[in-house]
Amino acid sequence: MTDQITRFNLAMRVLHWSMALLIFAMVFAGLAMVRALEPWQLTLLGLHKPFGTLALLLLLLRFLIRIKSSTPSLPSGMSTIQVKLAKFSHWLLYALMLIIPTSGLLMQYYAARPIVVFDFFTIPAAMVPHIEYFAVFREGHSLAILLLITVLAVHIGAALYHHFIRKDGVLKSML
């Protein structure tokens, strides 16, 4: 048997922390731009959409790397329910990271709003808008964000719990 892995590989760590930064920025940008009537709103809106597209592409890359890489096993001594919850919350985060940008793209599509991605290309939108499909993806986008914020709170809380209370290597495995 090979050596026990204690850390996620470099690619996974880089993707984890860069996406963490991106997701935090996107959530705050999103919450601000749906409320603000300030002149920067349009600029922020114009950044939120291409960065959301980027987040989706990064997620697909991350998912590919995840299934091709070995990952550190959870520390021994965790109860079965804790292990199950840990695995479930990680897959739930992946699901939300997929659902959020996808619903964002689809709500723009059905509202007939093309998305300009960093002046490189334009993602076309529906010729004929469909307001009810828009409503589904618009409300879904918001609900998924609320769920994401909740799961992230658990995720961060769990990382701190492992590090400061259990004093195991879980947080360090991602540093």
Partner: protein
């Protein structure tokens, strides 16, 4: 530095710093009392609430037709719509207000919105009869609507406190609403930039001037403008001249309350032909949010604070009516 050439890195840095700034924003916003898109749309929809309808300019009709471009604007902007030729559009004629069943003839503000699709791009245009706003930012605009709802005295006080409304008041004194959608002049109000192939910008406003025969409106009911328009279309298309007004260096394109001097250069881009109309709920304009910040390449937004507030406010109105429609709000409603 050209706006369009900001590097990816700078954009990333910008988002990150905005996120940090926004984390701290509750501290700074407590003092400035900024109106949000939600508060704005709450005010527009008022106490009487019409689920499934637009929150502003709730009553109108869908129209469609084509723009015959003469090509003269294409040296100032690479937008496809300005290339010589025929460009189809869908649009909407409406009156201001939150009531989708309101009487039309007495409505003081009429509107014309258009939407062009060219390739992967879309250009939405939302015009009103006044050529300028009374105020220069969305927060004062909010207070203006509050005053309008309070009555004449409040309006008088509001304008007295806002000397920037002089151009708007002068226009208002000279204007009498006509009895036809086809006899109004519609204005872009806010200024935009035309951008040519060398990335040169020209600040412009535009208007659409009616080219239609004066005639008396025989209808008097609450749908009089729609009925008159439908009757008029049976005799042929309704036409407008699409005219662009070019700002000079000394004109402030970011101030929507200030008219530019009348001697500014004007360029006619071509003629708008409205050929068909449809009731609004079954028509092809119903599902569209005419957010005037959906722009094609070749046209970009100025920093005008009211223009830049329009996207968030339109989005909030669209979100509300979309959700209401999904929940079945319009299933029992007849077209009006």
């Amino acid at each position: 530095m050209k706006y369009t050439s900001v590097s990816l890195l700078e954009k990333g840095f910008y988002v990150a710093s905005l996120a940090v700034a926004l984390l701290l924003s509750p501290l700074t916003q407590a003092q400035t009392e900024q109106v949000t898109a939600q508060q704005f749309v709450d005010l527009q929809q008022g106490q009487a609430h019409f689920p499934g309808f637009r929150r502003a300019h709730a009553k109108g009709i869908c129209v469609s037709g084509e723009f015959k471009s003469n090509g003269r604007l294409s040296q100032y902007s690479n937008a496809t719509v300005f290339k010589a030729g025929t460009h189809p559009f869908i649009g909407r004629l409406s009156i201001a207000g939150n009531n989708p069943h309101a009487a039309e003839l007495t409505a003081p503000v009429r509107s014309f919105a258009l939407s062009f699709v060219t390739g992967a791009e879309r250009w939405n245009i939302a015009m009103n009869t006044p050529p300028v706003m009374a105020v220069t930012n969305p927060h004062d605009f909010y207070q203006q609507i509050v005053a309008l709802k309070q009555g004449k005295e409040a309006v008088k006080d509001f304008f007295a406190e806002h000397p920037e409304s002089a151009d708007f008041l002068a226009w208002k004194a000279s204007y009498t609403p006509s009895s036809s959608f086809a006899l109004e002049t519609y204005h872009s109000i806010n200024a935009f930039y035309l951008v040519d192939e060398k990335a040169q910008r020209q600040a412009i406003r535009w208007k659409m001037l009616p080219l239609n025969e004066e005639s008396k409106n025989p209808y008097t009911g609450k749908d009089a403008l729609q009925q008159e328009f439908a009757t008029r279309l049976e005799k042929g298309s309704v036409r407008f001249n699409w005219q662009f007004i070019f700002a000079k260096q000394e004109d402030d394109e970011n101030n929507p309350a200030k008219l530019w001097p009348s001697n500014r250069a004007k360029v006619d881009a071509g003629e708008i032909f409205i050929t068909h109309w449809q009731p609004q709920l079954s028509g092809n304009c119903h599902a569209l949010n005419f957010d005037p910040l959906i722009l094609p390449s070749g046209v970009i937004a100025t920093e005008d604070p009211i223009l830049r507030a329009r996207s968030a406010a339109y989005a909030e109105s669209y979100r509300r009516r979309a959700k209401e429609q999904l929940m079945g709000a319009l299933e029992e409603t007849a077209n009006d």
